[in-house]
Amino acid sequence: MPFLFALLPIALIVVLMVGFRWGAAQAGGVGYLSALLIALLAFGAGPQLLAYAHSRAFVLTMDVLMIIWGAFLLYRVVDEAGAIRTIGQALPHLTADKGMQALLIGWVFASFLQGVGGFGVPVAVIAPILVGLGFTPLAAVVIPSIGHGWAVTFGSLGSSFQALIAATGQPAARLAPPSALFLSLAGVVTGFLVVHAAQGRPAVSRLIFPILVFGAVMGAIHFLVATSNLWNIAAFCAGMAGLLVALPLARRYRGEQGDNGLLDRRALAIAFSGYVVLIAVTLAVQLIPPLNDFLGQVVLQVKFPEVSTSLGYITPAGASRKIPLFRHAGALLFFTSLLAYLIYHSAKLYRPGAVRRITAGTVQRVLSSSVSITAMVTMAVIMETSGMTETLARGLAEGMRNAYPLVAPWIGALGAFITGSTTNSNVVFGALQMRTAELLGYRVALILAAQTAGASLASIMAPAKVVVGASTAGMAGREGDVLRKLIGYACLLVLLISLLALLGTLIPE
């Protein structure tokens, strides 16, 4: 019975989002209220425990929201200057080959966009471009959907990975290597699937060389950057490296027209300058110790005393994660946004009223996701401190045992599917997966890597994302067609993570 009570908040979110098509903010609210009531009535949580749980959730929420707000602000600064449009218009000129266009725009460029923006931006930007290039609307939505999934965990400037760190308290240095490895390998397979979705099996054989080259370059950069303590720009750097390699190679594939058109290099360079600033700011803070120390002076860290439920479940005393307010990845994004704005402004790329549109667009876009993330983080922390997560973990551990590494990515995938977000999946299931791994004696980092990788790859078929993609390609009302097409590809990728996780448990530490 306690297992079923503990499962109820998560089950309610699943039923409301999938069965009743509620939004994440609404379902998150129900999840929070049910967790609060169950913690009070069935798990013996008292007022002090609940008060500290809310305070703890506040710190975790800020840790995640700062990146989401900063990432979307940067995206709006760049987009308002017309830079995303310029990049999108320039890329098709590189090649007239349909398969190569799918690779270049639907995979490499989609990964780059996921690295800097996320939040459904890759599909929303790319689907109309592909329709304009003659792809069917269904293919135009499906191609970038598949193409960006592998870059989600370290994309959006690391917000999903930050959520995993915040929810589990595990250090980034331990979580990054297996997570980056799983996703880099999935990234290479993604290239094959993108071409398959665009032109079928014959094109896969024809384009095997560029797929392997782009996949190897993006995968290697993704892994190296993520494991070098620069995880917030790993997907971004991978996408950038992919574009640098793809630009010269793509021009070799002329396609049936035999003419690839002209490329405005100057406009493209200005468009990319905002992202060059991001690399410069991030590297400067990492590599210049005085700057690093200066920005790290103001730190938010809260100490929490030991709390226990009336049933005897104890959460030991401890401090929250340190949040260096001016050196946080979110703060660096704000600095970058400011510098990028000055560059585009001096290049006269903004129309009057740009600041107002950037600010209003950012606030309107992030508000709803801020509400849902706050509700879900608070729900997850209440579940954790009241012993509900522990109960769930024990139930799962007893039921799964040796099969757990195979199942772990599917739990992450389920979370991303229902909440439409890898960040939310990591918040809701991160602590549960960690505790289950501990109980069964598996390496925690390996299981958490399976969690976040499964969530990333399955987030592409989340109804919330499919609706956005379908609407931008003129397929509103035909979301079911998109979902049917995506399920096979997404499940194949999550299955790959299952096998990699199982393989990982066989390798000694």
Binding site: A25, G29, V30, P47, Q48, A51, H54, S368
Partner: protein
């Protein structure tokens, strides 16, 4: 009820902003209330968070 939801839908942004404020502001005083053992304040502040979540649920 439908009319109220329609009214809320028209003010989606304001409703979400209020809901977010009600969720994010009480945790700081909650921390101090817990340190003081002020249970009445704790329930009042948690009540505000609950109202914030109810508002989020109510916005279509």
């Amino acid at each position: 009820m439908l009319t109220f939801r329609h009214w809320l839908h028209q003010r989606r942004f304001q409703a979400h902003l209020l809901a977010f404020a009600l969720m994010i502001l009480p945790p700081l005083p909650l921390y101090f209330a817990a340190q003081q053992g002020a249970n009445l304040w704790i329930w009042l502040l948690i009540g505000l968070v609950v109202i914030g979540n109810l508002l989020a649920i109510g916005v279509p």
